[in-house]
């Protein structure tokens, strides 16, 4: 449930950063005092808040690939909203990123955090398993061949 909420927030923020980096280039090259920059800063803050929120419940190595979907969204926005040409090489890049995100998202990734930070190690496996539920553990063992 949190995952869904966070992910939608994240993708929302991502779409916004997508816009920003477009305007950002213009902003830096042309003029700093342009209304897009103000909008961009607000959107960037929104993205940052969503990113922080995601980091509060998920691993960094889970959140980072997910945020990279922003690049994909940016390319899609460029293609369909701005009618830019997207080269085959970039479609390959999009496919690679999507594949990578799928890899992480399909995994248990979400709540494997906080294992040896605060609590004593011996208790942890049982505690973690209890918190995550057995199915997650099964996904790990069956999903990755050893």
């Amino acid at each position: 449930m949190f995952a869904a909420a966070g992910d939608s927030m994240l993708s929302h923020g991502m779409k916004q950063t997508g816009n920003i980096s477009l305007h950002h280039l213009q902003g830096i090259l042309l003029a700093v005092l342009n209304p897009w920059v103000a909008v961009g800063i607000v959107l960037l803050l929104a993205f940052f808040a969503a990113y922080m929120n995601a980091l509060s419940w998920a691993d960094l190595t889970y959140v980072l690939p997910a945020t990279s979907l922003g690049y994909v969204l940016l390319a899609l926005v460029a293609k369909f909203a701005l009618h830019e040409e997207v080269s085959p090489l970039r479609w390959v890049g999009i496919a690679l990123i999507s594949g990578g995100v799928g890899f992480v998202a399909g995994g248990p990734a979400l709540t494997a955090h906080e294992h040896d930070q605060d609590s004593p190690p011996p208790l942890l496996p049982a505690k973690d398993a209890a918190r995550n539920g057995a199915p997650t553990e099964e996904v790990v063992s069956s999903g990755v061949p050893r």
Binding site: F2, A5, G6, I28, M52, N53, L55, S56, W57, D59, L60, T61, Y62, V63, L64, P65, S68, Y71, V72, A75, L89, R90, V92, G93, I94, A95, L96, I97, S98, G99, G100, V101, F103, V104, G106, G107, A109, A112, H113, E114, H115, D116, Q117, V140, G143, V144
Partner: protein, 126 residues
């Protein structure tokens, strides 16, 4: 000589953004689940706890250094080299750093994901 400057810049960007990401991730782990905390104690508690965390400010400072070194590096080298190189190396660096400093369980699945995303970002940004 110019390419040495460019790659030096890229390394500084990668280092600063990895440090920033690690510090921010650690700060947010110390703060705890924002959603749950918000529900339990209200928005202001969340804000106070985030802004009371020194790792958060160090992380933001590192991110700022990364951003300005990106600007410098862009003035020395081509966008088509600097942007993809810095972005994809940051992904790889973060996977290592998260494993070492945050003790995250970076399993094979996550390594593959980091590699795929790094390659994809390199292609897209280039």
């Amino acid at each position: 000589m110019k390419s040495a400057y460019t790659w030096g810049g890229i390394l500084v960007i990668v280092f600063a953004s990895v440090v920033g990401d690690i510090l921010l991730a650690r700060a947010m782990k110390q703060v705890g689940d924002v959603h749950a905390l918000w529900r339990r104690a209200g928005l202001w508690t969340v804000v106070a706890r985030i802004f009371g965390n020194s790792n958060f400010f160090l992380g933001v400072a590192a991110m700022a250094i990364a951003f300005f070194s990106l600007l410098f590096a862009l003035s020395w080298g081509d966008v088509s080299l600097v942007a993809p190189a810095a972005a994809s190396l940051t992904f790889i660096g973060n996977a290592f750093a998260a494993k070492i400093f945050l003790h995250e369980k970076v399993d094979r699945r996550r390594w593959i994901a980091a590699m795929l995303v790094a390659a994809g970002v390199a292609l897209l940004a280039g």
